[in-house]
Amino acid sequence: MNQPSPVPRNFGFGSEEEMLRDLARQFLDENMPVEKLRGLAAPDPEPIYDDGQLPGWDQQVWNQVIELGWPGLAVPEHLGGSDFSLVGIVGLVEEVGRHALPSPLISTLNASWVLRSAQTKEADPFLQSLASGTPASLAMTGSRGGVEPGEVDVEARSTPAGVCLDGVSFFVQDASKCELFLVFARQGEGLKLCVVPREAAGLRIEQDQIHDVTRDQATLYFEGVEVNSASVVSDSGLATLQRAWPGLLCLVSADLCGTSEWQLQTTVEYAKNRKQFERPIGFFQAVKHPLVDAMIEIDRARSLLYHAASLVDADHPDAELSARMAKSAASDAGAYISDRSVQLHGGIGFTWECDLHIFFKRSLHNQALYGDGVHQRRRLADFLVGPIDR
């Protein structure tokens, strides 16, 4: 383990981080305005919800994202990445959330974060591959939808060439867009972390039918999938995942903060313009005060998020605690502004043609991912109050 480095009071959010964030905002404002998003992801519900088609996304934008180097942000420089601070990445992901960008960017960032946390030389070629634009995703969840490291339903058994995988991995994010899967598989007491390409023999990918139209999700069935030893990037997968966990919680929290801020601002604009009883509805405290409360919740989540990311950057022992606080606050803020955004829009907010539902569903998905507020607080209580004495 590295020694914790000092934690800067500005979270380490300096000029480079600001530049990256501003660039992301500008790029996404131009390349994924909400009108375009609507056309891509939510044109007509029937093909998606009734016929099981995957919602649309823009491969062109993804290619540009690769050129901008975003998939390699968390990858060390000698492997082709830019070794950016998590605080900076979080700033970028907030913008991704604010534009509800459909893309494998976040799943790839997550994967790179886990590979990096493996701290093995076997991970290096894959980190390099991710940095050069190969989209990847984590396959780490069991059938119960476990929201903590280690609840997996894939078994690994040793073979002369490496390991062979059998079982099922659930809730794999943006699987249809990814070429590599980082699969956690149980062997005895331990977890192996294996990299499996989507075209591997014995791997069957079944797309889930989900509400969120800005991503996809799949179930991966492993039937005797052979993984050679070069692709077993860690034998201590649980430790890897536990090291990576605070970072993963920060990334999903950042996405939540981004969608929440969009929902807030969009509802504020509506409240300024929509008139009822001869006044803009924002005049009424039943509209104004909930928006203020939402702002307060969002700000709490953002401040906790940047703090958590700075602790991750510093390898600080409180990083997990801090990241769980951020995820709890971000999930709850997301739930609150999602609720109020639809309610305060009234009838129009209940329609498909209004963009709110796109953000609502992305937020709802992220609220549950890696554990909601109640879950994080259950874990936090063990840190803060101590384990329950039965």
């Binding site: 929201v147 609840e151 989900i210 999700q217 009424f284 498909w352 259950r378």
Partner: protein
């Protein structure tokens, strides 16, 4: 649980209703039914529900308290019992909810003898489905701000305008319709009609898509639609008063002509979900924080039931409208919170749409949650409901 305070006729009726429902539970529906009548989308759903309503009508469980000359069964204080027994039996809801709980009561109060004879029987049997034309794109919560115009032309009226939020409009034979007949007075310039919908010249019904991706509510456009004066309810300029009668029934302040059936307390369903959902290797039903939330839910629903009961005891109601005017607000928020809790209990499984075979309870909870905003927004947003309660019951000054 035994009950008293019923007349012997009511006791006999209750026995009849309970017995009939036990013996006549309907066959399983051909496709998944939505939570509420206003979400009915497909013809298969409609046909199934229409035939169920007719059977209930024939068993005297619908139109129970409506006079016989209008196609009802002429009882007293029995509709409530019928609704209660249907709810208890968990049988499907009545599809003609707008007809039974809004149109019929309004027509009984404000209609002429011939209007009653023309309109009520078809509503009771379910043959003629009704929809409601109270909402407009520009009006929102300010219901008096109606722009749909009706202009007198001899014995007819010429109607032009645009209604939204019209549940069941795609199946409807009739609409209860508020129009503006004078621009000079905001409230006194409104007139109330019943308007033919299906196949009526100039009327077009277009489905609106909900945030769930489902249809089930519509916009209805009126282009030079002719409505005969014989379909006007009450006087010209009295539309606001008539609409208030309708809303009193819609908001649950009074018993309609029927509408019982499923849609009640989801506590048992949530508990069952919690037993099948996992958290950190523990069933959610064994997690005390979830248990606390489940019990909060149960208390709210039990409170709603007991409010309904207490509302009938004058000695325990200092203000007669204090409990009835709460019911739309508490009911819609209870449903929303229950559905939200279901989403939370299901955890990451609530990401799944109903078509996914892995979705718990066929994807019920996230859909119910999304649809619940229909309840908290329609028929006067809950913000408006709080104004109404604050002003009419507590006597606070108007916020508008």
């Amino acid at each position: 649980m035994g009950e008293s305070g019923l007349t012997s006729e009511q006791i006999a009726f209750q026995k009849h209703a309970r017995g009939w429902l036990e013996e006549n539970a309907p066959p399983p529906p051909p496709i998944r039914l939505p939570l509420m009548a206003i979400e009915v989308m497909h013809e298969a759903q409609r046909d199934y529900l229409q035939s169920w309503q007719r059977r209930c009508y024939e068993a005297e469980l619908v139109g129970t308290d409506v006079p016989r000359e209008y196609g009802g069964w002429g009882r007293e204080g029995c509709q409530r019992i019928a609704n209660q027994e249907m709810s208890r039996a968990g049988t499907p809801f009545m599809i003609n909810i707008v007809g039974l709980t809004m149109a019929v009561p309004t027509i009984l109060v404000h209609g002429t003898e011939s209007q009653k004879k023309l309109l009520i029987p078809g509503a009771l049997t379910g043959e003629e489905i009704w929809c409601q034309g109270f909402s407009e794109p520009g009006a929102g919560s300010d219901m008096a701000n109606q722009q749909t115009s009706a202009i007198r032309q001899g014995e007819d009226w010429l109607v032009n305008g645009h209604k939204v939020w019209t549940s069941l409009g795609h199946f409807a034979k009739w609409m209860i319709l508020i129009t503006r007949t004078s621009k000079e007075h905001k409230y006194d310039g409104l007139t109330y009609f019943v308007c033919p919908i299906e196949g009526h010249p100039g009327v077009s019904v277009r489905p609106l898509i909900k945030i769930t991706g489902e249809t089930g509510f519509n916009e209805v456009l009126f282009e030079d639609v002719i409505v005969p004066d014989s379909l006007r309810l009450d006087e010209v300029g009295k539309g606001w008063t008539v609409a208030m009668t309708t809303l009193t029934y819609e908001r649950g302040a009074a018993e309609g002509a029927g509408g019982g059936g499923q849609g009640g307390d989801p506590t048992q369903r949530l508990i069952a979900l919690a037993r099948e959902s996992w958290r950190d290797g523990v069933r959610a039903s064994d997690d005390p924080v979830t248990r606390d939330a489940l019990v909060q839910q149960a208390i709210v629903y039990e409170g709603i039931r007991m409010n309904m009961r207490r509302a009938k005891v004058p000695a325990l109601n200092d203000h007669p409208m204090r409990l009835p005017l709460q019911s739309k607000l508490t009911g819609s928020e209870a449903s929303q919170n229950a559905a939200r809790l279901g989403v939370e209990i299901a955890g990451v499984h609530s990401t799944l749409y109903k078509k996914d075979p892995k979705a718990p309870e066929a994807g019920h909870w996230p859909l119910a949650y999304l649809n619940s905003y229909g309840g908290t927004i329609a028929a006067g947003t809950n913000e408006i409901q709080r104004n109404i309660l604050g002003e009419r019951v507590l006597g606070l000054p108007k916020s508008k």
